[in-house]
C-alpha cells in the first residue's frame, strides 16, 4: 500500500508564512510525527472522499449555507469531545497548563498526528488571548473546488468544531473559525482561535454522597 511510499517520500513541507518558532515547536512536531507513525493509518484519499460526500449530504439536508456551516461545526465538536481522550492517551503530551501551551499542542501535535498536516501558530494578539493556526495542505479538501454559489461555505468547518470540542475538555472555551482558506483562493489556510472563557474545575454536583 501507500505505507512504503510515505516513508521514502520527503514530506512536502512549504513553510507557512511568518517567522516560525521552530526551536520551541520542533520537539512538538516530533511528538506528532511519532504518534502518527505508531498508530494505524488510512490513505488521505479515503478521508477526503468520505468527508466530501458527507458535506454533500449535509448540503442536501439543509437549505441555507449558514446552517450547513453550523452543522459541520457541531459534528466537529462531537468529534473533538471524544478526541481529547484519544489525544492524551496516544500523543505523549503530558501537560497543557495554559492557553499558550494549548496553541502549540493543537497546531504542532494535533494537526500532525491526526491529519498529517504541518501547521504553525502565529499572529498572537497583544494580550495573548487569540492566535491563528496556519497550514497550507488540507487533506479534507483534497479534490475539492467550491462553485460560486457556495462561496460562503466553510468546507472544512468540521476542523474548527474539533478544536473547539477538544479545548473545551481542557476547560478552555474558545471561538474558532476559518478566516482564510485555499478553497476560497487564498494561498494558505488560517484558523483563528480566540479565548472566550476559562472554566474552573469543580466537582460534579450530583456526585455520590
Amino acid at each position: 500500500m501507500a505505507v512504503a511510499g510515505l516513508k521514502g517520500k520527503r514530506q512536502r513541507v512549504k513553510e507557512a508564512a511568518g517567522a516560525l518558532s521552530m526551536s520551541k515547536g520542533g520537539n512538538m512536531q516530533k511528538l506528532g510525527e511519532l504518534a502518527l507513525q505508531k498508530g494505524e493509518r488510512v490513505p488521505v484519499e479515503l478521508l477526503a472522499l468520505t468527508y466530501g460526500s458527507l458535506v454533500r449530504q449535509v448540503i442536501a439536508d439543509y437549505e441555507s449555507i449558514e446552517e450547513v456551516n453550523k452543522q459541520l461545526d457541531l459534528m466537529g465538536y462531537n468529534i473533538g469531545v471524544r478526541l481529547a481522550d484519544d489525544f492524551f492517551a496516544k500523543s505523549g503530551v503530558s501537560d497543557c497548563r495554559s492557553f499558550q501551551d494549548s496553541a502549540e499542542i493543537v497546531a504542532k501535535v494535533g494537526f500532525k498526528m491526526y491529519l498529517n498536516v504541518q501547521a504553525s501558530v502565529d499572529l498572537w494578539n497583544a494580550d495573548n488571548t487569540a492566535y491563528s493556526i496556519l497550514f497550507d495542505e488540507n487533506p479534507l479538501a483534497e479534490f475539492t473546488e467550491l462553485p460560486e454559489e457556495y462561496a460562503q461555505l466553510s468546507f472544512s468547518n468540521l476542523v474548527c468544531g474539533v478544536i473547539r470540542g477538544a479545548l473545551e475538555m481542557l476547560l478552555l472555551v474558545v471561538k474558532c473559525e476559518f478566516v482564510r482558506s485555499t478553497l476560497q483562493g487564498n494561498e494558505m489556510n488560517e484558523i483563528r482561535i480566540s479565548l472566550v472563557e476559562m472554566l474552573r474545575e469543580s466537582a460534579p454536583e450530583d456526585d455520590e454522597d
Binding site: 458527507l54 473546488e145 467550491l146 476560497q184
Partner: protein, 262 residues
Amino acid sequence: MARRETGRLSWVAKKQASGAHKRSQSVRGMEAGALPAGVGAGSGAPAGSAGYGAAMAVAAAAPGAQASPTPGSTLNILDQPLARQRGEVSLSAYLLLFCELVAYSRNRVSSVVALEARLAAVGYRVGERALEYVCAKSGKPLPRETRILGILNFVVTNLWRFLFGKNADSLKKVGNSDAEFYIEEVEPLVNTFVSVPKDFGALNCAAFQGGIVHGILSAAGFECEVTTYVRDDSSKPGSAEVTMYYIKFSNEVIQRERRLAG
C-alpha cells in the same frame, strides 16, 4: 499518465463548458462527479458506455465545465496529477469522522433500514469517485473491464487494497444465478469501533462500504443493486459475524455479458 489524461479531459471539459451545468450541485472537483454519474449511469447505462474511459471523461467534465480558476491557486484542480503521492492520515481521525457520520444520519431517520440506506448513499458517492482514482493510482494503464468477473476482481483486489489496505476476504457466486454475487468480509474497516446496541437489531454500518461497491460498479457501467448483510457464522467460533455485500446485476448487464461471452 495522469498528465496526459488530464490534458485530454480538460479538453472534453472545455467542449462542454457552454452552460447546462448551472444546476451543478455543491462541491466540485472529485466531488462533482455525482452530477454526471447521475446523468450517465442513472439512465440505465447502455452497454456501450461501460468502462473507465467514459466514466472518467464525464466525471472530469463537470468540474471543468464551470472552472473559473480560483485566483491565487497556481494549478487548476484538473491540472493537478491525480496519482500524486498524498500520504496518510490517522485511522482514529477517519473512524471518529465515520462515527459522527453515523450519529448524524441516525438523528435524521426513523428506522434501521433507512439509516443503512443513508449510509449507503454517502458511500455511493465515494465509490463513483474512487474508480477514477484507483485507476490512476495503479501506475500502469488498466485494461477497461467489460466483463462481470473482471470488474468484480478489480473491486475485491484493487479497490479494497487502495482504500482499506488489504483484499476483501472472499468473492462468491450465488449457486445457480448468473447475476448474483457476494463479497464477504470479516472485519470491515469502518466497523472497527462500532458496537451495535440491541435495539438496533441487524444494523450493519458497513452499509457504507456496500455503497462504495455500488458506486464504483455503477461508475464502471455495471448497473446493480448492492445490499449489505450480517451473517452469523457459527461454524467458526472466533469470528461469529461476517459482513456480506450481496450484488445483483441488472438485466442489461447480464445481456451484455452473454453477448460478450459469444
